[in-house]
Symmetry: C2
Subunit: 127 residues, 2 copies
DNA sequence: CTGGGCGTTCCACTGCAGGGGAAGGTCAAC
DNA sequence: GTTGACCTTCCCCTGCAGTGGAACGCCCAG
């Protein structure tokens, strides 16, 4: 399978696949005489796995760790569990930060400033 | 006031203040004969305003819009209100996306995979 | 007169995940 | 044999808000 076919089969672009090759995520199984990347059909599952990981908010580095474990012959399930748990904790924190920020802005916004009381000399009554 | 003093007074760095100068956010009121940036005391409030805006999650571009309005002699309150409302809407969306992602990961994580059932041949039962 | 602590400019780099486009090679069909 | 679609590598660019470092100038105390 050539790179364009793999891109079409997985709904991504040839640019992205070359990037993944360079990043050590999905290597072609061979190269044609002309130098074209040649992928086997397993590559489709591998790319789909990467895309699912991205959808789950994992970084390419985290996905690569999982793939490297598997490529070394190990079952990466424990590692995946830990990665997902980390991701969950990171999400909790981000959500908490954004929620706090929302509170800050809401209370700023509640200051009922009349445009008439707003003078250019002061920078801003809202902030 | 020289750049180091302003940095100390506002709790930021000279690097950042030079960056703000280049970005058109806070210009020194003059330059010394030697080329040193010379800030007046109002610069302290201006820098503090920028830092409050950053704390509220505004981008430097948004903050610059507000300062430009004020520098043009206009009271920027209406604009600030709109900016804060935009920011609030953007936060709502980000929080919703992250919450959805958290649900996705939580349900992935709930798949009670035994390490024994996890084979290297499959990529991952979790993803 | 020299050392240390300021200041200056300019350029490159960070993290993340690719995207844009140039210059050239390859392949199948017509 | 030539057109057009596909492939290759290479390098730069994106957004955001700075940070790091080099090479140099200024100024004051000892």
């Amino acid at each position: 399978m050539r790179i364009g076919e793999l891109a079409a089969a997985t709904g991504t672009t040839t640019k992205t696949l070359r990037f993944y090759d360079g990043a050590g995520l999905v290597h072609p199984s061979a190269r044609s005489v002309a130098g074209y990347r040649d992928y086997d059909t397993q590559a489709i599952d591998r790319v789909r796995f990467i895309l699912r990981g991205r959808t789950a908010g994992l970084t390419l580095a985290q996905i690569r760790e999982i793939l490297d474990l598997r490529d070394a012959g190990a079952a990466p399930c424990d590692h995946v569990q830990r990665t997902l748990d980390q991701q969950l904790a990171s999400l909790e924190q981000q959500i908490a930060e954004l929620t706090a920020l929302r509170e800050t802005i809401t209370s700023l916004r509640r200051r009922n400033v009349q445009a008439s009381t707003c003078h250019p000399e002061t920078i801003c009554l809202y902030l």
